[in-house]
């Protein structure tokens, strides 16, 4: 560690249970964040600020004006450029001493293993069901934990899938994707920006806890539910363990070839909703 690192990270290094070992673990860790949108932006900024050594950012989208309401690493001047590029340059301003890898390809069953293979932990910050299934299957194959966040309207959900020998994968809970016409993933639904902020922050926290060993090993599988208007807003549910008969994590020989291609393909028809018209109504 450089002398400047002690100054930069001193406030967390003096924490009980963190210390120099925690900081070294962060520095030696490599984390990939899939999706540099509402969830990815806040997760990325706290992972970078905390000193994660290598951060991968995977997103093939371009920044649009409608993103700026919540995707706080992007700026007006980055409209039109790749989100992964824009996010990386914001991280560079916060912490130039870490390595940031920019991946602007769309994640597919063909390239996902190669793109994600080198990282210790995968963050699911995506916005559609097919990519969520693909990430879960990849995490199973790579035997890596998947810190999964999701947000919609006033609500959010958080879970760590495929954690340890007993943690369920996404398919243990949801064996197959909903029919595309029922998924509601194509049509853009409303979202209160700060809800993605809260879930993205919690994803960063859980990731930091996993890396530094602060995540208690005897924690049972659980999911956090958040409702911005709820009372109480946070709620915790106890999840099933890994299922022996899970189509993905229940097989030793599991590979992506076994999955119907439709699981990974988003079928979207028609144009995006016209926000201007809707707003004016």
């Amino acid at each position: 560690m450089h002398l400047l690192d002690y100054q930069r990270y001193g406030r967390q290094m003096i924490l009980d249970g963190f210390g120099l070992p925690g900081q070294v673990k962060l520095k030696q860790s490599s984390i990939v964040v899939v999706g540099a949108g509402g969830l990815g932006c806040p997760a990325l900024q706290y992972l970078a600020a905390a000193g994660v050594g290598i951060i991968g950012i995977v997103d093939d989208d371009l920044v649009e004006l409608s993103n700026l309401q919540r995707q706080i690493l992007h700026s007006e001047s980055s409209i039109g450029i790749h989100k992964a590029e824009s996010a990386a340059s914001s991280l560079g301003r916060i912490n130039s001493s870490i390595q940031v890898n920019v991946i602007t390809s769309r994640l597919t069953p063909q390239n996902a293993l190669e793109i994600l293979g080198g990282y210790d932990i995968i963050l699911d910050c995506t916005d559609n069901a097919p990519t969520r299934y693909l990430l879960s299957d990849i995490a199973v194959i790579l035997k890596k934990p998947l810190v999964s966040g999701a947000a919609q309207k006033y609500e959010g959900q958080l879970a760590i899938y495929n954690l340890g020998p007993d943690g369920p994968c996404y398919r243990c809970l949801f064996p197959k994707p909903p029919a595309p016409e029922n998924a509601g993933t194509c049509e853009e639904t409303g979202i209160l920006g700060v809800v993605t902020g809260i879930i993205g922050n919690l994803q960063a926290l859980e990731t930091i806890k996993l890396v530094t060993g602060l995540h208690s090993a005897d924690r049972k599988p659980s999911m956090t539910l958040f409702s911005a208007l709820g009372s109480p807003p946070f709620r915790y549910i106890k999840l099933r363990s890994r299922k022996a008969d899970c189509f993905a994590c229940g097989r030793k020989d599991f590979s992506l070839d076994m999955i119907a291609e439709t699981d990974y393909v988003q079928v979207c028809g028609g144009p995006r909703p016209n926000w201007i018209e809707r707003g004016l109504v």
């Binding site: 990815g40 910050c125 069901a129 949801f174 998924a183 639904t189 915790y236």
Partner: protein, 111 residues
């Protein structure tokens, strides 16, 4: 506490509330003993399978295909019995008790 009905708190979230008059929280009473199958003379204690059937016919306002598929909840819906994944409680066979809270959440995909 009555022996012939079971009082339940039902909650919908993750967008499912839209199918139920946009109301997240419901209190209902259902019979404690119900037919094994629709129109059957054999009976059973009311379980979650029956509750799903009951909700579909009594509380659901629109688009049943977004709630039910093959007599159970459609893929992507998680059922909770008192904040525990129903898979740990016997799934549809879980026999409902007075005061139980049953939550139906739709998994969110957005980010």
């Amino acid at each position: 506490m009555s022996t012939d009905t079971v009082s339940l708190r039902i909650e919908f979230s993750g967008g499912l509330e839209l199918l139920f008059a946009n109301q997240r929280s419901h209190r209902i009473s259902i019979p404690a003993i119900v037919p094994k199958d629709d129109g059957d003379v054999e009976t059973k204690s009311a379980d979650i399978t029956y509750l799903i059937h009951y909700l579909r016919h009594n509380l659901l306002k629109e688009r049943p295909e977004l709630f039910i598929e093959d007599k159970t909840v459609r893929p992507g819906i998680l059922v909770l019995v008192n904040d525990t994944d129903w898979e740990l409680e016997g799934e549809g066979d879980y026999v409902l008790k007075d005061g139980d809270e049953i939550v139906f959440i739709s998994t969110l995909h957005g980010g």
